[in-house]
Symmetry: C3
Subunit: 162 residues, 3 copies
């Protein structure tokens, strides 16, 4: 497998872990010193950092387990990535990707079954977030690990009262 594909699959595992709220699987993709920072867009080409960076796989694991809202009953999500640009130099790499997050809410089947004339998948799929991931990786013992992960959000993030 090419290194570019290996690197892209790190992100493919990242989004699955996020969507399953699996902090252990997600943390394992990062080095101990990795720095993860969210940025929010403030203008055409300008962003500002949002909150403090997470540090290392342990920090990522904690955040996923304790700070991300669990899915409600019937809820799922898909962090999808597209249009990757990957540059490798020796044991270092940079990856840029677009992301769109979809929030899924399944409809509950009525106790007496679906009504007449209703058919197909029942529920809603809504895009709720988007932006760019800019990710630095390093090859450690033959495996690509994330050392820096910058999440550039298109939209501001509300914190109550702030």
């Amino acid at each position: 497998m090419s290194d570019e594909r290996k690197i892209q699959e790190v992100l493919a595992r990242y989004v699955r872990a996020t969507d399953r709220r699996d902090g252990k699987a997600q943390g394992a993709l990062f080095t101990d010193e990795a720095v993860v920072q969210i940025h929010v867009k403030t203008g055409r080409d300008s962003y500002e950092p949002f909150g403090e960076p997470l540090i290392g796989g342990a920090g990522v694991e904690f955040a996923v387990e304790h700070l991300m809202a669990p899915h409600p009953e019937g809820g799922s999500s898909h962090h999808t990535t597209a249009d990757h640009i990957i540059d490798i130099e020796g044991d270092s790499a940079r990856m840029s990707a677009q992301f769109v997050v979809f929030s899924v809410q399944a409809a509950a089947r009525p106790a007496d079954g679906w009504p007449d004339g209703v058919f197909g998948a029942q529920g809603t799929v809504r895009p709720i977030e988007s932006g760019y991931y800019e990710t630095g990786l390093r090859r450690v013992d033959g495996e690509w690990k994330i050392v820096k992960h910058d999440i550039f959000m298109d939209m501001p993030i509300a914190v109550t009262g702030a």
Copy 2:
């Protein structure tokens, strides 16, 4: 072309065939003994099978031609896939992918032209389904074919009266 890319292009042809309701093109991607099963999500990590499996390229072709609703006038769809993870062992392979389905409905151009001030693409693009494809493939005479295709839907599927 790498085997990983060849395998990913099988899925790229699968989604185009689905969206064009081209049963012949879609069936040709499967072996005669292939097993295709839909599953619907019932809890955080649980799914249950939906309906009976389709068997082989002929079964897939029949289903696409006879069981999928045709697009209405002005309608299109896009089954899009993202974040593939591909593992190859000799002549066998497994691929995992996220999918999001978009339903497109073009607006009809008014008989006397578009009103003043209206501009850009006219119609709606709506995400309607999502989940994961988990696909097994085998190299047959140098070509990758699908031998198993599990569709894990995030949402339940309504069948009238059921």
Copy 3:
């Protein structure tokens, strides 16, 4: 890096340039004689050309700088591509891709902060366009450049009064 990946990254740069309305970056991806044509869907398998073709990198640069609507305050977009099929023959290549365009509008933070109970990303992400890119490329001095770019839109495009 494989030629397939290099070719796919041309499209990855194209969508970023479009979304940033960066005509210079976008024009640089095309040869001087490149032909870019939009087509709109008129039936199941039929399309008709929309407007005149753009010619060359200079034509693309002009169109991006002068004909694309700028994003409003708080606005962003993401042209995302998926399910690429790439065929290379010597120094020529063809790429087919699905595209979905998302329009993003950030909410403005209220002067006295976000209200109680509001949290997460604030704004809307809406899919607004979709279709297929069918792109021809040629290797020029070792770099892949677009020589033909056909944009097949699922929906009609309104031009006031037309």
